[in-house]
Point group: C2
Chain length 183, copies 2
Amino acid sequence: MECKGALVEAKGDLGEAEVVLRKRGIASASKKSSRTTKQGVIASYIHPGAQLGVLVEVNCESDFVARTDDFQTLVHDLAMQIAAADPQFIRKEDVDAAALEKEREIQRARALGEGKPEKMVDKIVEGRLNKFYEEVCLLEQPFIKENTTTVADLIKTKIAKLGENIAVSRFVRFKVGDTAPEE
Amino acid sequence: MECKGALVEAKGDLGEAEVVLRKRGIASASKKSSRTTKQGVIASYIHPGAQLGVLVEVNCESDFVARTDDFQTLVHDLAMQIAAADPQFIRKEDVDAAALEKEREIQRARALGEGKPEKMVDKIVEGRLNKFYEEVCLLEQPFIKENTTTVADLIKTKIAKLGENIAVSRFVRFKVGDTAPEE
């Protein structure tokens, strides 16, 4: 429900009717989210200068949809998103427990260090963890080309338009020198 | 030494002088193999149809060499090699002990099943493990565009020509549906 609210807010400049349609589209998109996606494409994005590159697999249900311009554009946008915003995971559930616990500790220490009242700290920490998810999870990130919407909502809009479930199954992002041993 | 022998054989059509020069080049290339490679490029290869893609990082010592056509061609060839020949590792030392032990067991059982004499089995197994390395290690594979040379020798020839150490530091190969759960 929070997602929809955010979308409506973000789309304040759209007509009422379009908002309703988009809400319906996203609701029907959510219903499709359990359907199997075995087709799709592999796409890459190499940043000019070739010091940074991304490879991503995005799946849908049929070869037909995989070939559409809409799907191809989405895949290209996702590859650019990964290059620009450097997500570490696809979705919230993928964040490993150790990384989450570490972030929780950091934010707790920070809140206490700022002199926040003890009884408020848990709430502040949870709020900042949402911010953390927005930074490290592809689907939670603001879309680089339109930062009032999230990547998850961008995908849901395409699901609504194309009538098939769509899922990002994996990605990698290589930067020259990331693996070079320290001297 | 074995490498050089193979190269000379493979290059039977070259003049004696060129063979000597290539041998010297490869010898001097080997000396460079410990030098640090922090520059380089990230390249991708998407096979027509976009059902298969590769991302690879290839490093050299200077930005200058990274920009040369020779280096760029090498990187492109390596990406195509990975797409076509599906290596699992970069070099022999990267093959994990479990995978190696499993292959050794398979080949031992196969040799015994073929009725080879017990005292010959170890030797046969080692011979077949070399074949296994040629299949799964990028550097041991025959180069797809010229299968009388290995990928390692292709890289050594470029090291000799460009005068800098060159190393493949990582790659991934995605095929659509590889990650799809079984139904």
